[in-house]
């Protein structure tokens, strides 16, 4: 071959050989990695943090090509807990006794214990946001209870319908679109709200079921009494207090309210629904309204939020005056009392009753956030922000300090659209039995 081709060949050869000398640095085979799917943070002794990792075992999860597998969540995960000064030191320690290298890119859920949350989780959130491997869409969860709540919670999670616990988390925590009892508290939202001067962060509450057998079920921990109701509605619980029994022990309901990076309180299920409505993120859900015309009965509505709420903030005498208009649509699911609410005359009554019910709930909840929690979780600061021209004016205004003095006005506009399949309820026809 000519000298030109010879020359280019030698150059090419030299390059190829130099590549083989340098080697491939970041190449890591898939089966050299271990993928934890959840992390729990508990308070350790002496400024250290106790980390629990929930690791998925792929061979048990996938079942391989020989059939088998399917269900059996217990075997497909393994747990390990370590106490370390910070997240990465803990990861280092775990790497030393787990055979494969930890790869944090599949972590779906970050669980903080209540104790740790009340002290402030700023440093952990910052570390998690800075790390490139952590998913920005993983959920931030607070585990209720004292002591090592996070570890307890993680160890109790046993997915039944899925063989892959990661899928369990993802599906469970995105259920807020059709239940409204949790919210989208992803890491990136949490961080943005944490450093924002116009909103405050929220985290999902999680806990283990209190009740072992169905005879133990009681309503002691429900908040219905505070709300002045005679019986608890489905949203009047927080995680762990739900009157349920089953093999699935983990419960997720309600939100933890943060002020800055410290937890200051909790919202139960119904208040979470209201919070979602205020944000405009409420999908659709079943809501129970006490029957306006018949005591002791309830009406079931399928509530949807089709339009975003209108929010207005005005400053009157140095106090913020917040006005919210919520627009809801409802379908009738069930009328227990049989009253003919589907007719055009009576439907207004039902609408008014529902509107009042919601307005009462809203005012209660908003007052709680202002007076008790002193944190603007619905993000009214965003409306305020638009009124200023420069950044310095806004920071000087200091909305966070002004919020606790706010006055609220809520107007709910609810329209009942469809009655389901029936136009009226006919009472059962039968002789009166056992009543004189």
């Amino acid at each position: 071959m000519g000298s030109k081709t010879k020359k280019s060949f030698t150059v090419l050869l030299a390059f190829i050989m130099s590549f083989s000398v340098t080697g491939c640095f970041d190449k890591r085979e898939i089966d050299d990695l271990v993928n934890p799917i959840a992390i729990g943070f508990d308070k350790g002794s002496n400024h250290s943090v106790r980390m629990t990792l929930q690791i998925a075992i792929p061979t048990k999860v996938a079942g391989g090509g020989e059939g088998g597998g399917g269900g059996g969540g217990e075997e497909s995960v393994s747990y390990t807990t370590v106490e370390a000064p910070s997240i990465y030191s803990g990861l280092n320690m775990i790497n030393s006794y787990v055979s494969k290298q930890l790869n944090m890119s599949q972590i779906k859920v970050l669980v903080f214990s209540e104790e740790l949350a009340r002290e402030g989780i700023e440093k952990y959130i910052n570390a998690l946001m800075r790390g490139r491997e952590f998913r920005p869409h993983s959920y931030v969860i607070v585990a209720r209870g004292t002591g090592n709540a996070a570890e307890r919670y993680l160890r109790a999670v046993e997915p039944e319908l899925e063989s892959n616990p990661a899928k369990y988390y993802e599906m469970l925590l995105s259920a807020y679109t059709y239940t409204g009892f949790t919210a989208n508290t992803s890491l990136t939202n949490f961080y943005k709200n944490m450093v924002s001067e116009s909103t405050q962060p929220l985290a999902v509450l999680a806990d283990i079921s209190k009740f072992e057998k169905s005879d133990d079920i009681n309503m002691d921990n429900s908040s219905y009494q505070e709300k002045g109701r005679e019986f608890p509605l489905e949203g009047d619980f927080k995680a762990g207090d739900m009157p349920k029994v089953g093999t699935i022990k983990s419960e997720v309901m309600g939100l933890a309210v943060f002020n800055g990076s410290k937890m200051v309180g909790e919202l139960d299920g119904e208040e979470t629904q209201l919070q979602l409505m205020l944000e405009g993120n409420f999908g659709y859900s079943y809501v129970t309204i006490p029957d306006p015309e018949a005591e002791d009965y309830v009406v079931l509505l399928n509530i949807k939020q089709n339009r975003k709420p209108k929010r207005k903030v005005e400053i009157v005498d140095e106090k913020p005056h917040i006005k919210v208009n919520i627009y809801l649509e409802a379908d009738i699911l069930s009328i227990q009392s049989g009253v003919n609410y589907e007719s055009l005359e009576k439907v207004k009554i039902l609408e008014d009753a529902a509107e009042k019910f919601f307005e009462k709930g809203f005012l209660r909840m908003l007052k709680k956030t202002a007076k008790e929690f002193k944190s603007d979780i619905a993000g009214f600061g965003k409306e305020m922000k638009g009124k200023f021209l420069t950044w310095d004016e806004w920071t000087n205004f200091n909305w966070i300090e002004k919020y606790p003095d706010s006055e609220f006005e809520v107007d709910v506009d609810l329209k009942i659209r469809r009655p389901g399949l029936m136009l009226r309820t006919y009472p059962a026809a039968g002789t009166e039995v056992g009543e004189e």
Partner: protein, 589 residues
């Protein structure tokens, strides 16, 4: 008893090996080193000059000696022109065609009777290459039987020659020549030579009649909708196939001969007032300046005249469909057809020609575009899929959905090799199966395909040598490479695939991007007969040629491709569906 004894004796007693002569390839006379002691008389004189020189001069002398011994036939050997003496001609022919050693040459001597003179003549041809009936009826019969007719005019020799040529030999293609080389050339290609005593010209008649394949269906470029003819190995049949589609007297089929010994006839086809002249001149120049002994197939011809041998993509399209050649000629390209090869070469090409199949033109507009999209996807898959798999599973784990990740991990748990090695093993196995499948005898042919693919793959998975996902990747890649319409391009991608796997193993997506970038640079640099390969994407040509990537409906394709610089750029007028116009007018009335 005696046999047994003999047997034992044979087994144990030493036997001399029988002398067997092994075949040794002897060196040429001039390279032989002959022993000086066997020297001839003459060399003894030159002994003083040194043995080496002796050896060389001895060999020279011996060669000369050999040639001297044949001096008597020197005359006939050095003949180039036909002589008037038939005997000399016959001697020459016998020497040149190695008669009677060469078994399929027939030398037939006969007499022509003109008036009352008997003129001896001879006929020479290759048995099997000629059509015997033609010779009998059109050459022998008139010369032998019907020659006894009146010759009007002078009875000179020249007249006889003319008389024979113009009146007696009732054959439609006869060549008259003085030179032996021309006649022998014709004889070699299925003609027969007629030598007549007293005339210093010979006649070469084209009586080709060898066995050949008929016009068949195309084997490699199969379409559902469209003509089903393909080229065969006869030059005139092929040119006729193209001509009967175009029916244009401006279609020129220039004859060019390639190969010093084989003198293979080729045809250079172009449409005179469409194709660019400099293009035609360039192609002609390249064809005429190939110096080689024998040339066998257009595949070799392609390699002789292409721009860049080392490039991975071909720069000339080889097709076996006459309708495709015709449509490309109509665009302004140039075609070369060679005798003996059923593939015609068309040049210049751009990248779009490799994405198109003949069917695109005959099928309706939406289907053609859908097929093109599929082909582009197939190309990218066949090139990049193994590389992407390696890159994702080795470097970019976070991209994989969690379920899939666990599935891959679980299946890879027991496999001893790293993914790169796995892929290379499976790719090699696939290529082996492909290669072997070409040569498997037909009874086992289909079964080998099934065995190789399914059972081998399944067995490999069960034996934990490869993971099942890999089988899918490799299989899809292989299928993708079959979807590429052009055979050479598919081939080149098979090679490049390995390069991408290595690049991906070295640096993940960065390596793949680097490879894509370098490849696009090289592709954009390539030129095929002066036309940039990536036109019309590369240099964005002014006229909006409507058949680049997506094919616009046929009534919209008005211009010929701009990058060919054709003489006549308008293919169709603006409104090619004139029936639409007239309909409107009728409606108004």
């Amino acid at each position: 008893m005696a046999d047994l004894k003999k047997l034992i004796k044979d087994m144990f007693v030493f036997k001399e090996p029988e002398p067997r002569e092994e075949f040794i390839l002897e060196e040429k006379e001039s390279e032989k080193i002959v022993n000086v002691t066997d020297a001839h008389d003459e060399t003894s004189e030159k002994k003083k000059k040194g043995s080496l020189r002796n050896l060389f001069s001895k060999s020279a002398n011996s060669e000369k000696k050999d040639s001297e011994s044949g001096k008597e036939s020197n005359n006939t050997e050095n003949m180039t022109c036909v002589s008037k003496n038939l005997k000399e001609n016959v001697e020459y022919l016998k020497k040149r065609f190695s008669i009677p050693i060469n078994g399929d040459v027939v030398l037939r001597e006969f007499d022509i009777v003109i008036k009352d003179r008997k003129i001896p003549a001879c006929l020479i041809f290759y048995d099997g290459m000629v059509n015997g009936m033609l010779i009998n009826l059109n050459i022998l019969q008139p010369l032998m039987l019907l020659s006894n007719l009146d010759v009007k005019g002078k009875n000179g020799e020249k007249d006889i020659a003319e008389y024979i040529h113009k009146s007696l030999v009732t054959h439609n293609q006869v060549k008259v020549s003085h030179e032996f080389d021309e006649i022998v050339g014709e004889i070699n290609f299925g003609g027969c030579g007629v030598f007549i005593d007293g005339i210093d010209v010979a006649y070469a008649c084209d009586v080709k009649g060898w066995q050949h394949r008929g016009v068949d269906r195309p084997n490699n470029e199969i379409v559902i909708r469209g003509p089903q003819e393909s080229f065969n190995e006869i030059l005139r049949v092929n040119t006729a196939l193209v001509r009967k589609i175009l029916k244009d007297e401006d279609l020129v089929a220039e004859s060019i001969e390639i190969g010093k010994r084989s003198k293979t006839p080729c045809s250079l086809l172009y449409i005179k007032d469409i194709a660019n002249e400099s293009l035609v001149n360039e192609v002609r120049r390249r064809l005429q300046n190939i110096k080689t002994d024998y040339i066998f197939d257009t595949g070799e011809l392609e390699q002789y005249i292409e721009d860049n041998t080392l490039m991975s993509t071909p720069q000339i399209v080889a097709t076996e469909r006459p309708d495709r050649v015709a449509s490309m000629l109509a665009e302004g390209k140039v075609a070369v057809i060679m005798s003996g090869s059923p593939f015609a070469l068309v040049m210049p090409t751009t990248n779009n020609d490799f994405l198109q199949s003949a069917e695109d033109a005959y099928v309706r507009f939406p289907y053609a575009n859908l097929l093109r999209i599929m082909r582009v996807i197939a190309i990218f898959m066949s090139l990049l899929l193994p590389g992407l798999y390696v890159a994702i599973t080795n470097y970019h784990h976070e991209m994989i959905p969690t379920d899939l990740l666990f599935a891959i991990e679980a299946s890879r748990e027991r496999v001893p090799f790293p993914s790169v090695v796995e892929i290379i093993i499976m790719e090699f196995a696939f290529e082996l199966i492909r290669e072997a499948g070409l040569r498997v005898p037909s009874p086992i042919g289909p079964t080998l395909g099934i065995i190789g693919a399914l059972i081998l793959g399944q067995a490999a998975v069960a034996a934990n040598i490869v993971s099942p996902i890999l089988i899918i990747v490799v299989a899809v890649t292989g299928i993708g490479s079959f979807a590429i319409p052009n055979f050479s391009l598919g081939f080149s991608f098979r090679i490049l695939r390995f390069a991408y796997v290595f690049l991906a193993a070295m640096a993940g997506f960065l390596g793949i991007t680097f490879g894509l970038f370098v490849q696009s640079i090289i592709l954009c640099n390539a030129k095929s007969f002066g036309v940039p390969f990536m036109a019309p994407f590369g240099p964005k040509t002014k006229s909006r040629f409507q058949d680049q990537f997506f094919r616009s409906p046929i009534w919209k394709q008005e211009k010929r491709p701009d990058f060919l610089n054709t003489k006549d750029t308008q293919k169709q007028p603006k409104i090619s569906r004139q029936w639409r116009k007239s309909e409107k007018k009728k409606g108004k009335q």
